[in-house]
């Protein structure tokens, strides 16, 4: 099955519940930001259930990065796209718009609710015990893993392009961006804009 074509889905309530549960479980694992759970979302939504095409997955992340606001909104876009696929694309009119909205609600509630409840309840306690060795050990012990997860996400986004002869300009663009973000204070919006322009002109 080609994962580049948008799938047409027939999702029942059990499927929506399944998606909610999967995102809710990821919510509690999203230490260091929801983007660190992107590899697992890819495994679930693209590889296992085939609810999203490879293109839809990547563009959800790219659009959310391009837009203002917290990057967590890429999860809303994934829910939106799952809903659209369930309503068979934009041609489905209000029906598919309603399913897309349902997708947004299910995905966002799933990814937000457990972590937010936990954060709210734990905040005062953690604030009072911030010198506690357990909290410091957790923070220090997780730090290298959080960084590795960021690098893994970038790796998986690049690994979609798997034909070096054709895709090498993509790799170069990613590497240049990496260097600019790392070594300079260039505003990220300029970089996203430059990427869009290079892509629209067909140079990458």
């Amino acid at each position: 099955m080609s994962t580049l074509v948008n799938p047409v889905l027939h999702l029942g309530s059990a499927d929506w519940l399944g998606m909610f549960q999967h995102f809710a479980a990821l919510s509690l694992l999203a230490v260091g930001g929801a983007i660190t759970t992107a590899p697992d979302m890819h495994r679930y939504l693209v590889d296992e259930t085939h609810w999203l095409s490879e293109t839809q997955f990547t563009s959800s992340i790219a659009l959310a990065q391009a837009a203002p606001g917290p990057n967590i909104l890429f999860v809303a876009l994934m829910g939106w796209n799952v809903g659209l696929n369930a309503g068979a694309g934009l041609g489905g009119g209000w029906f598919s718009a309603a399913l897309a909205a349902l997708g947004v609600v299910v995905a966002m509630l799933g990814i937000m609710l457990p972590s937010s409840v936990l954060t709210y309840l734990a905040t005062r306690w953690a604030h009072q015990h911030r010198e506690n060795i357990g909290i410091r050990a957790f923070k220090s012990g997780m730090a290298p893993i959080v960084i590795a997860l960021l690098l893994s996400t970038a790796w998986l986004l690049s690994a979609v392009h798997n034909q070096p002869a054709r895709d090498w300009p993509i790799y170069v663009l990613t590497l240049c961006t990496l260097l600019l973000v790392w070594r300079t204070k260039t505003h990220m919006l300029w970089l996203i804009g430059a990427g869009a322009l290079l892509g629209a002109l067909g140079w990458v």
């Binding site: 790219a62 937010s116 604030h127 357990g134 220090s140 430059a194 990427g195």
Partner: protein
């Protein structure tokens, strides 16, 4: 530290919270953290820089998107649960509308070659943004009680598990995470004994 008498302000109301967070979320392209610091600490003076760092550490420790956690915590501190909800709603509502509009616009042109190309380019850039942020953060490991070699080993192990073997995230977080937290605990405990011995000597 230059002691300037800092008179801190407070959000006037839940509406003030909602509007303030909406305003700064809409300014944050590619990352809200820098904007949050500038707005809440430097401009609005709702908290000192030190307080911000402490809050940020907790927001980062907790699972979930860290800026959202931060808005939840700040809102909750001033106005309880309604304040927390106002903060999170401010952070998410307007940007959600913007991102969905972008997706809709893109949906109507998504078959055009230039639109596909633009997205391809943006995808390549966002991979670079994420990787660059990760590499930048490596310098924060210098002060880690586990020391650099152990940190790099843990990071490499996680990368192999997630990116190359494509294992479920939970396995890696629970497995490698347990090793990391355990080792950090041991090192912190050693540091503490050493410090108390030096104090006595």
């Amino acid at each position: 530290m230059p002691e300037e008498p800092q008179t801190l302000n407070q959000p006037r109301s839940k509406t003030d919270l909602f509007v303030s967070f909406t305003f700064l979320a809409l300014q944050g392209f590619g990352g809200v953290l820098a904007v949050v610091q500038r707005e809440l600490v430097d401009k609005k003076r709702w908290m000192t820089r030190e307080q911000f760092i402490e809050e940020w550490a907790v927001a980062q420790i907790m699972p979930g998107p860290n800026v959202v956690n931060l808005s939840l915590m700040i809102g909750g501190r001033y106005f309880g649960l309604p304040g927390a909800l106002a903060g999170v709603a401010g952070m998410l509502a307007a940007p959600l509308v913007v991102v969905l509009l972008l997706a809709l616009l893109f949906g109507t042109v998504s078959d055009a070659t230039w639109a596909q190309g633009a997205l391809r380019g943006m995808g390549a850039v966002s991979a670079g943004l994420i990787a660059g942020t990760g590499i930048k953060l490596i310098s924060a490991l210098k002060t880690n009680p586990m020391r650099m070699p152990a940190c790099i080993a843990l990071a490499a192990l996680s990368f192999v598990g997630v990116a190359l073997l494509r294992l479920p995230l939970a396995w890696v977080l629970l497995g490698v995470g347990a090793i990391g937290c355990g080792w950090a605990w041991v090192q912190l405990a050693r540091q503490a004994t050493r410090t108390s011995q030096e104090d006595r000597a």
